[in-house]
Amino acid sequence: MRYYFMNQEMEEFSIDVEVGLCKTFEFTHEGNKKSLQVRKLAGKHFYSFDGIAWKKLAALGVNEVLVSNSETYKVYRGYKPSGLNKSGAGALITQMPGKIVKLMKNVGDKVTKGETVLILEAMKMENEIKSGADGVIKTINIKEGQALEAGFLMVEIEE
């Protein structure tokens, strides 16, 4: 089984896994192999790379979005989704669900890097969404008051 991980910048990598008897996992990543054992004890799961040192493992309820400190990864189990392209500093994408409070620019407006393009309210906070590059507003896919899911391309800026 091959797992694909993809972060917000659409950077991607994969890890192969083979599940053996007694919850033994054999991983392959960029040619390197590593094995992992899992045991269930007192209703909880534990993992070990050497069979001696054990740590608690959270059994994951879904295989949607996984997070590694400050990066969010989508996980694809056994398939690689098509149509995912890299997007650059000029693509303003919602990082969390929210609502558009104010839109400051129109299509064709010039923007400089760091300039506020719109205000997005999320979790009761107003967040200024700034341009990641110097350029011109190419497309606007939102309007004020609109509620958005995470991962929505709000504005594209042509550099």
Partner: protein, 478 residues
């Protein structure tokens, strides 16, 4: 008091904390759930569950007529508002008083006087308590705000009259910044507290945020339960609190002074519940009255841990005219040290909210840890509510022990599927200045611990996530 039916108009960890105290005291805890909360974890501790229909806070946790209807239908004797929502709303506490329903909090007059920052400042002044210079009343227009800004000198802070908890407040360094921010702070004030009124005050640089816990009964007895240091803040919201304050340290004269000043403030409004008097303290240890929060505070557990006083149970008892657990100020003593970390669903580097669905949750804690939270696997954090999902509290014989315990607890706290500020807390707990207890509210801005959060995880971390998913695929019998 036993058998009284108490409605909790709140959610999350504070609703759990309140329900626990009600149950223990022999009262009936009645909890609510709204259309936005399909599996509200706080109901676990509530004896009865009532549907509070509606999709947003204005239709639910802030809807006084709807809540009054429930109070009537379910024969409610008392209401606990928790923090936020209607906890400091004069209209709500007056409506309850008229209906003869016990509000578990101070009398409406104290809510009104201390709830409105302009009046509270005036009262503090009259009681001889030093205050930070600023507008004495509400500031209605940008022009007025700019005028005051020039009178008291920039930087100034624009803040909501009805606010608290860091929401609806922004510092401004110039006329232009006042102009740019005024409308936004008004909007935030309106959406968070239902009231858009603003204040302007002097913005003191590098101050300490130190607050004093008050516990008072309805017979005029007002006690302090010592201070908390809440200077580790981001976006003017606390993320780490300690008790006692490492900045006051062994300076018992300052501790006595600030605590007695807090009692003076509380007495000035005939305070009769649990509350908190907030101060700004400069490097010279001079302190100024900031505001009084007329409710139970998020960070109340650290005070409970170092004094052994159950603040929530006592708050409920005094509301029903039962005596406090103690009879004199001397009965309350500090023993040990406590630290609280607010665990938030937010990006540890940008510190911006990051809602999502929790897919894995495990804890491995040392002895002496208290985790007040509302987390469970499959819990969805929606953008509708505050991103705080838990409070990790460590108690130790001294600060060094408490630090050791909270560090170890943080290593044993796994929350998978969402971004949290756990990695940021790990950096702070090992950062030199914090370890020494040397920090002001400028800490996050100047030390920038967020920049030391590792962005990329080891490849092993991804292997563990794969193993977790595979185990889940194998089913529950595995």
């Amino acid at each position: 008091m036993k058998g009284k039916r108490v409605l909790i108009i709140n959610r999350g960890e504070i609703a759990i904390r309140v329900a626990k105290a009600l149950n223990e005291l022999g009262l009936v805890s009645v909890g609510v759930w709204t259309d936005n909360e399909t599996e509200p974890p706080h109901l676990e501790y509530c004896q009865e569950w009532v549907h509070l229909k509606g999709n947003n806070n204005k239709e639910t946790y802030l809807d006084i007529p709807k809540i009054m209807k429930i109070i009537e239908d379910y024969k409610i004797d008392g209401v606990h508002p928790g923090y936020g929502f209607l906890s400091e709303n004069r209209e709500f506490s007056e409506t309850l008083a008229k209906k003869g329903v016990t509000f578990i909090g101070p009398n409406p007059d104290a809510v009104y006087k201390m709830g409105a920052k302009d009046i509270s400042k005036q009262i503090a002044k009259e009681a001889g308590v030093p205050v930070v210079p600023g507008s004495t009343g509400e500031v209605a227009t940008i022009e007025e705000a700019i005028k005051i800004g020039n009178e008291i000198g920039y930087p100034v802070l624009l803040k909501a009259v009805a606010g608290g908890g860091g929401k609806g407040m922004r510092p401004c360094a110039s006329d232009k910044e006042v102009k740019d921010n005024f409308a936004a702070v008004q909007r935030e004030a309106l959406s968070s507290f239902g009231y858009a009124g603003l204040l302007v005050e002097k913005y003191i640089l590098n101050p300490h945020h130190i607050e004093v816990q008050i516990l008072a009964d309805k017979k005029g007895n007002v006690y302090h339960v010592f201070e908390r240091e809440c200077s580790v803040q981001r976006r003017h919201q606390k993320i780490i609190e300690e008790a006692p304050s490492p900045f006051i340290g062994a300076d018992e004269a300052v501790r006595k002074d600030i605590c007695e000043t807090a009692v003076k403030c509380a007495k000035a409004v005939n305070y009769d519940s649990a509350g908190t008097v907030e101060f700004i303290m400069g490097e010279d240890k001079k302190f100024y009255f900031l505001e009084m929060n007329t409710r139970i505070q998020v960070e109340h557990p650290i005070t409970e841990e170092i004094t052994g006083v159950d603040l929530v149970a006592n708050m409920i008892k005094v509301a029903f005219n039962e005596p406090l657990d103690f009879k004199s100020q001397d009965d309350i003593q500090i023993r040990g040290h406590a630290i609280e970390l607010r665990i938030c669903a937010e990006d540890p580097i940008t510190m911006l909210p990051a809602p999502g669905k929790i897919v894995g949750f495990e804890t491995t804690f040392p002895q002496g840890i208290r985790f007040d939270h509302c987390i469970f696997p499959k819990f969805t954090i929606t953008p509708d509510f505050d991103p705080m999902i838990g409070k990790l509290i460590a108690k130790g014989f001294n600060r060094e022990v408490a630090l050791r315990k909270v560090r170890n607890a943080l290593d044993g706290l796994i929350i998978d599927g969402i971004k949290t500020n756990i990695p940021l807390h790990k950096v702070i707990l090992n950062e030199e200045n914090f370890v020494k207890g040397k920090y002001s509210t400028a800490y996050i801005g100047t030390i920038k611990p967020q920049e030391k959060v590792a962005v990329k995880e080891d490849i092993e971390a991804f292997m563990l996530k794969i193993a977790g998913i595979e185990l889940n695929q194998m089913g529950s019998q595995s």
